[in-house]
């Protein structure tokens, strides 16, 4: 029964089983997750048993399968649909359940208090958007609560101030964009969070929303029907500031840097140039490209709820591979522009390179070094 419904909902009858989805899937090489086979099973097996498919939680929703599909199907969305069925049936990994519960109660997946959301900004002189501003800086969950990613948010504030950007934050009114809730299969929760954010955003007449995370950017840009605001990822906004001469980068940063394209920024939204433009604008910085970059970038495994689920093969981590590739390139810094990439890659760098080895940084941190 499930199989037939999925086939209808995701147009699986149109699949030609070419295997491009699985061939490019970063999970297919390290786990038994095979998305082409899942499509076929859903087609031919009316009684498909999703409950036993633990591998469904391996997917990081990087969407490589969707991008490679020659028939315009969206296998990523099908995985999300399958997860929804699991969530509805209550069979989900406990860590996922906790994250979802926290999202429902506290508006963030990190089990942190709602009223502590803006604590990171204390003493920085950041305006609340209610005081009026042109630009709304949508901080996001990890940059609000995670001590490592908070540094990125702070760097953002420092740069915005330098460039004299009229900006404000939502403060404790901000709730999660819901991107991860949706990808963990909790569509209802996603819709609830979207409604909350839409309601909040409606109240403040801003010209532009700027996000830290590509995941928030993607949600606003592609999944927030009814949002009539211009949204930019910070790399677009900051590249613009640099272009207009509003953000002079004068200090030399003599480092060899390579860049990890976050899936939700690069592959899914084709934002490849702006991050590189920013890095190239930093004096003294040498940018080296990874072989697998841009459309062929390797996922860090941080998306699709994977921050809260280890998956079926936690021993082999793509982030390790990525750090190793960066080291082989002779890079001193592996830069990225996504909170999840930052966290997974930094973890991997500690294991692979150890203390004093390659550094993992957000582009924004390099920008403020150059101020």
């Amino acid at each position: 029964m499930e199989g037939q419904n999925l086939a209808q909902a995701y147009r699986l009858f149109e699949c030609i089983q070419c295997g491009r989805c699985t061939g490019g899937c970063p999970m297919s090489l390290k786990t038994r997750f095979n998305i082409r086979r899942l499509i076929y099973e859903a087609l031919v097996d009316e009684d498909m048993d999703l409950q036993s498919k633990e591998v469904l939680w391996d997917c990081s929703t990087c969407a490589t399968c969707t991008l490679r599909c020659p028939k315009g199907l969206d296998p990523t969305d099908m995985v999300i649909g399958m997860r929804s069925i699991l969530v509805d049936g209550g069979r989900i990994p406990p860590t996922i359940r906790d994250a979802l519960k926290s999202l429902a109660i506290r508006g963030n997946p990190l089990t942190m208090a709602r009223e502590e959301r803006a604590d990171w900004a204390e003493g920085l002189g950041v305006k609340e958007i209610s005081e009026g501003a042109e630009v709304l800086y949508f901080v996001g969950c990890s940059p609000s609560y995670d001590p490592r990613v908070q540094k990125v948010a702070k760097a953002m504030v420092q740069a915005f101030k330098k460039a004299e950007v009229e900006f404000g934050i939502l403060g404790n009114e901000e709730v999660c964009c819901g991107s991860e809730a949706r990808r963990m299969g909790e569509t209802g929760l996603f819709e609830m969070l979207r409604e909350m954010n839409l309601e909040t955003l409606e109240r403040y007449p801003v010209e532009l929303v700027v996000t830290t995370s590509p995941h928030c950017y993607n949600a606003f840009q592609n999944e927030y029907q009814g949002l009539n605001l211009k949204v930019q990822h910070y790399t677009q906004f900051v590249a613009g500031l640099i272009n207009e001469g509003r953000l002079p980068l004068s200090k030399e940063v003599r480092r060899i840097v390579t860049y990890q394209d976050p899936c939700f920024l690069g592959k899914q939204n084709k934002i490849f140039e702006e991050p590189r433009k920013i890095l190239r604008s930093i004096p003294g910085l040498e940018l080296r490209e990874l072989d697998r970059s841009r459309e062929r970038s390797l996922c860090c495994e941080g998306g699709g709820g994977r921050m809260w689920a280890e998956g079926t093969n936690p021993e082999e981590r793509l982030a390790h591979t990525r750090v190793q590739e960066a080291m082989d390139l002779g890079a001193e810094v592996l830069a990225t522009a996504c909170p999840f990439c930052l966290l997974t890659l930094e973890d991997a760098a500690k294991t692979v390179a150890g203390e004093g080895g390659i550094q993992v940084m957000d582009i924004m941190e390099l920008v403020v070094e150059a101020l």
Binding site: C18, G19, C21, T22, G24, L67, R68, P70, R294, R296
Partner: protein, 422 residues
């Protein structure tokens, strides 16, 4: 060419207008043709020569149609003759100017699809018709900057005094009773599928580039080598820019399955110990002798693996082709020294312009629209204008020739009846 020859044989005068310096089209670039393995230029060049010699054919090469007024029986066609900067009546095609050009070996050859380099004055290939030199106005330093040494090297080298930098674009007016459009196709630009790293990795090439590598008259004299090295692991990837909605090409290009089988055979023939793998979705071997050829190629040890490639990256010096073997249900990483992308057939980049010019319509795939898909396959909606070859849709050589012959017969009927009326 075929259409011209048939009409000319029937006793009518034919103007054959070709945009490039030589006639021959894509077929001139191929090594061998499937499934008979006939040498492509061996069967093509006699026709080219026939065209050049036929008393009823007037060849207007290096020229483009810029307008067509009137209707069947009385078209007035404007043709722009681009300047070759070479007096074709004097030029003997000896090639001395080609050797002398200061830019010799510095400009990517269109005919060899970048596999070799030419100079600013060039003859696209040895069997070119007409066998005349052409100066590339965009690259020639004498044309672009006004100086090339004391005297342009080509001018100095030419004993026939054929170099003529004073040549200007000319407009030619033709009056014709019927028009056949046989403007051919472009190949899908593999850069539009960045996951394959075409343009980034020198050993990822297209099928047409492979033809030039494999051709006895090509830059490597038929040796399949890259930087002097013979590849030992070769992977062919099918359906690059065919059957692919993600790049706006929904249709099957019809020829790639078979040219890939032929190329796989050629690798096996020339490098017997090479491992040759073809990654495919379905094999469409629908023509006369095609399935038999596909059987033969597999029998020669070419490994067909079902599952199309998703990505190419590099590990050390070798390429890694990432794909799923869908019959195993497992992702595989194939090592390769050479990857050949079976790039599909697309409409000419300026097909829409020509459609507007000639008042033709195009089908949703961008090819010229025939009047009826079954019963009027060579006619267009504009009476007196007919289609032949890949400008109407992807097809192989025999189908192209058959359509040309049909178009020619349509023209002959129209012209003959017209004569009887008058």
């Amino acid at each position: 060419m075929q259409a011209s020859l048939d009409i000319a044989d029937a006793g009518f005068l034919v103007y054959l207008v070709e945009r490039e310096p030589s006639i021959g089209g894509h077929m001139a670039q191929l090594d061998k043709t499937f499934p008979t393995l006939d040498c492509s230029s061996c069967i093509l060049t006699p026709k080219m020569v026939d065209v050049a010699r036929h008393p009823n054919i007037q060849l207007i090469s290096y020229a483009e149609v810029v307008g067509a007024d009137g209707g069947i029986g009385h078209f007035k066609v404007g043709v722009k003759q681009k300047p070759r900067y070479v007096d074709v009546d004097r030029c003997t095609g000896c090639g001395l100017c080609v050797e002398a050009c200061r830019l010799k070996g510095r400009i990517s050859s269109e005919f060899d699809v970048g596999v070799s380099k030419r100079g600013a004055v060039y003859i696209p290939f040895p069997q070119a018709v007409p066998l005349k030199a052409t100066i590339d106005p965009e690259r020639c330093v004498f044309i672009t900057r006004g100086v090339c040494g004391k005297v342009p090297a080509c001018e100095e080298a030419c004993s026939a005094e054929a170099i003529d930098f004073q040549q200007k674009e000319e407009m030619i007016g033709l009056e014709v009773g019927a028009i056949i459009v046989a403007t051919g196709f472009d190949l899908f630009d593999a850069r539009l599928k960045p996951e394959f790293g075409y343009g980034l990795y020198p050993n990822v090439i297209t099928g047409l580039q492979f033809e030039r590598l494999s051709s006895a008259s090509g830059p490597t004299r038929g040796k399949i080598t890259l930087n002097g090295q013979e590849p030992k692991k070769v992977v062919f990837i099918q359906c690059v820019g065919s059957r692919d909605k993600s790049v706006g090409v929904e249709y099957c290009s019809r020829v790639c399955c078979m040219f890939t089988a032929k190329q796989a055979h050629l690798v096996k023939e020339k490098i017997p110990d090479a491992e040759v793998t073809v990654l495919y979705i379905d094999v469409r071997a629908f023509g006369k002798g095609f399935e038999e050829f596909y059987d033969r190629v597999r029998g020669e040890g070419v490994m067909y693996r079902r599952g199309n490639a998703s990505e190419i990256c590099k590990r050390g010096e070798r390429l890694i082709v990432m794909a799923e073997d869908t019959l195993l249900g497992e992702s595989v990483q194939l090592e390769a020294d050479l990857v050949v992308l079976a790039t599909g057939i697309t409409p000419r980049g300026d097909a829409q312009d020509l459609a507007t010019l000639l008042r033709l319509s195009t089908s949703p795939d961008g090819f010229f629209q025939e009047a009826h898909p079954k019963l009027r396959p060579v006619e267009t909606e504009r009476e007196g204008v007919y289609l032949a070859g890949c400008c109407q849709g992807p097809k192989d050589i025999p189908d192209g020739v058959a359509q040309a012959k049909a178009a020619a017969s349509s023209v002959i009927i129209a012209l003959r009846n017209g004569m009887e009326v008058s």
